[in-house]
């Protein structure tokens, strides 16, 4: 049995990161994520680990990537404006295949927007914010215990697949204090390849479908990591066949492992005639609404996505065989609803409950939308 505590969402994420083995944090203050940095500045040095406040978010992610290549497990946390600045280095982490975890506690945008109000409007920034073709993993917890477990999962996925992983939260999830049972460390499964030894210079040499090993500097071989497209040695190349293979390798290491990456929760779905698709704070309102609707005899269920990217396409398709009405609930002007529509065939009635004014939906508002369906 773990210890029961009342903690803020941001602090839960920070604690989970340390439990997952995080030993390097670089960040820049921004509302509503600053508590993560504050906690890390206090706790990491107690363990002999590194904390540094950088000059901006670009530098923060740069330092995290550098530390990661030097063998650390690194974390940074930010919100929308800072996440925009990080996109350049998010691409560098994708290209170099470098593990790093980024928390984005979403607030209203665009630009400075609503610093102290929640939103879910960075869903597409998480997917497509950096330039070029790339896969990305993004997870999104909604409940206190999920903040803990998804943060640990984010670190494990980033180490497992040699990739940056984004933890999306919103201002409500990040700032709210809730009770949580922190699991014992021995109950947590941590993926780590820290004992991996580079055997030669061909650090990117693998066939499509093979998972990459983690390679760090200072392991006895003079390796090269590059933001330029590179060959199996990491050395720059524009050779078309090599470039195409590297692009495919980076995509396939994610898309060939969807079973391991995609995670979701379902509530009241067995006999549901209407399905709500939601995540984060909106999933919480939706769950309460579903429970109220059930009391009134309405057959509605909730599909709560924990993995946002890659999108749980196959899972939704499966449910659309039986359920023909789907309501996407999200705090933006319509982002994930387009992903749902892309998956849905013509016989599916897709609707969305959208709002981007900084106020989360109440269960009653979601219930009203269910009843109007």
């Amino acid at each position: 049995m773990g210890k029961r505590e009342v903690l803020q969402g941001n602090i839960i994420a920070a604690k989970a990161a340390i439990a997952a083995g995080c030993n390097f944090y670089a960040g820049y203050p921004i509302t509503p994520s600053s508590e993560v940095a504050q906690y890390m500045s206090r706790e990491l040095p107690k363990l002999g680990y590194d904390f540094i406040q950088m000059e901006d978010e670009i530098a923060s992610l740069g330092a995290c990537i550098g530390a990661s290549l030097a063998g650390k497990k690194s974390l940074t946390a930010t919100s929308g404006p800072g996440f925009s600045l990080m996109q350049e280095h998010l691409g560098m982490a994708v290209m170099g295949e470098i593990p790093v975890v980024i928390i984005n506690v979403m607030r209203g945008g665009p630009s400075t927007g609503l610093p102290t109000k929640p939103s879910q409007a960075d869903m597409m920034q998480a997917r497509w914010g950096t330039h070029g073709d790339h896969p990305i993993i993004a997870v999104y917890p909604a409940f206190s215990e999920e903040i803990y477990s998804e943060t640990i999962r984010a670190f494990n996925l980033s180490e497992r697949f040699w990739t940056p992983v984004i933890i999306l939260m919103d201002e409500v999830i990040g700032k709210a204090h809730e009770d949580i049972e922190i699991p014992d460390l021995k109950e947590i499964s941590i993926y780590s390849e820290s004992d991996h030894v580079v055997e030669d210079l061909n650090i990117y040499d693998r066939e499509i479908g093979e998972n990459p090993p983690r390679v760090d500097f200072f392991k006895g071989y003079a390796i090269h990591i590059d933001g330029l497209e590179h060959d199996k040695h990491g050395w720059p190349t524009t050779e078309p066949d090599v470039v195409q293979k590297m692009q495919t390798l980076r995509m396939q290491k994610i898309y060939n492992n969807l079973d391991e990456i995609i995670k979701y929760k379902e509530f009241y779905m067995d006999d549901a005639e209407i399905m709500i698709f939601s995540f984060g704070v909106s999933a919480r309102s939706s769950l309460a609404a579903v429970q109220m609707a059930r009391e009134q005899g309405i057959k509605v269920g909730l599909f709560q996505a924990l993995t946002i990217w890659p999108f749980p396409k196959r899972e939704l398709k499966e449910r659309f065989k039986r359920i023909k009405k789907i309501l996407t609930v999200e705090m933006n002007m319509g982002q994930m609803k387009y992903e749902v529509e892309r998956v849905a065939s013509d016989d599916i009635d897709t609707r969305a409950l959208l709002r981007a004014n900084g106020i989360p939906f109440t269960p009653q508002e979601v219930l009203k939308a269910i009843k109007e369906f």
């Binding site: 670089a26 002999g48 650390k72 500097f217």
Partner: protein, 281 residues
């Protein structure tokens, strides 16, 4: 094979640099400094950003990292804090370090994190075809200042001294041995060090400014460099056309950032942890 050649990764040759470029001289000077200090290649990491200078790490037979435009220092900061015992070298150009990377530069200097920076100043964006940089001399013609450059340039080394770098030196590619010597000294310095190397880009700067061959351009570079002592004797109006070379600033006693972190922050935090043990958070 000469001593310094074991630090050069011949497998990745040829380099993308134009014939007559100063970058090759700088590559050699750095390798010679590594060799004289007998550094283990596995204990060195060379990091760069974007531009002609950005390609240099590819040719070092050490750990090497080629990153984003202007931001090599941020990656290097993470590496140095994570592994303070390693020799972390950053190679940057004038556009890379002082335009897009200006913010990172002044903060790395202020922190005094033990990165050894080689700032190659050729006064132009060479890789992209010759656009004006923050170190292009005033009135010079470039691809984006076809009527002459109206912006004054930064005095890079002086800016870095103001930003609290603890070792600042300047040399030119015309003086290989003094260059090697000063790079070696900077590698022995524990805090943030910068060696500004005045280099030539006869192709993209010289060609448009009556110095189309490397010899003419390098003579121009040599004619402008004077020792620090000589520079200080010059009347102010003549100083605008000259730059002092050699070690310009050195603070030997100042603690390096990661040293401070591990000697001050970590023990203080551990002490605080001990005190709060048993107490509820």
């Amino acid at each position: 094979m000469r001593d310094y050649e074991r630090y050069i990764r011949y497998r990745t040759f040829p380099t993308p640099w134009c014939p007559g470029c100063g970058d090759g001289i700088i590559l050699k000077a750095i390798a010679m400094a590594f060799a004289e200090l007998e550094l283990d290649p596995n204990e060195i990491i060379v990091v760069s950003g974007i531009g002609c200078s950005g390609r240099m790490p590819t040719y070092f037979n050490t750990n090497t990292l080629h990153t984003t435009h202007g931001r090599a220092l941020t990656f290097a900061t993470g590496i140095k804090l994570a592994r303070p015992e390693k020799t972390v070298v950053v190679i940057s150009g004038d556009g890379d370090a002082l335009a897009i990377g200006g913010n990172h530069l002044i903060h790395a200097a202020r922190r005094n994190i033990g990165i050894k920076m080689i700032l190659i100043n050729n006064g132009i964006y060479g890789m992209t075809g010759g656009q004006v940089s923050p170190l292009t001399p005033q009135s010079f013609i470039t691809e984006t200042t076809p009527y002459g450059n109206i912006e004054p340039k930064f005095l890079a080394s002086e800016l870095l001294i103001a930003a609290k770098a603890s070792f600042v030196a300047r040399e030119t590619i015309m003086r290989l041995l003094p260059l090697k010597q000063v790079i070696k000294k900077s590698f022995q310095h524990s805090g943030f060090s910068v060696v500004e190397v005045i280099s030539n880009c006869h192709i993209n700067l010289g060609r448009r400014n009556k110095m189309k061959d490397p010899i003419t351009m390098n003579k121009w570079i040599a004619s402008r460099s004077v020792s620090k002592a000589e520079f200080e004797k010059l009347p102010p109006e003549e100083r605008n056309h000259k730059y002092p070379v050699g070690i310009l600033w050195e603070e030997k006693d100042r603690l390096e950032y990661s040293e401070l972190y591990y000697k001050h922050i970590v023990p203080s935090a551990k002490e605080a942890a001990k005190k709060s043990e048993g107490k509820h958070e």
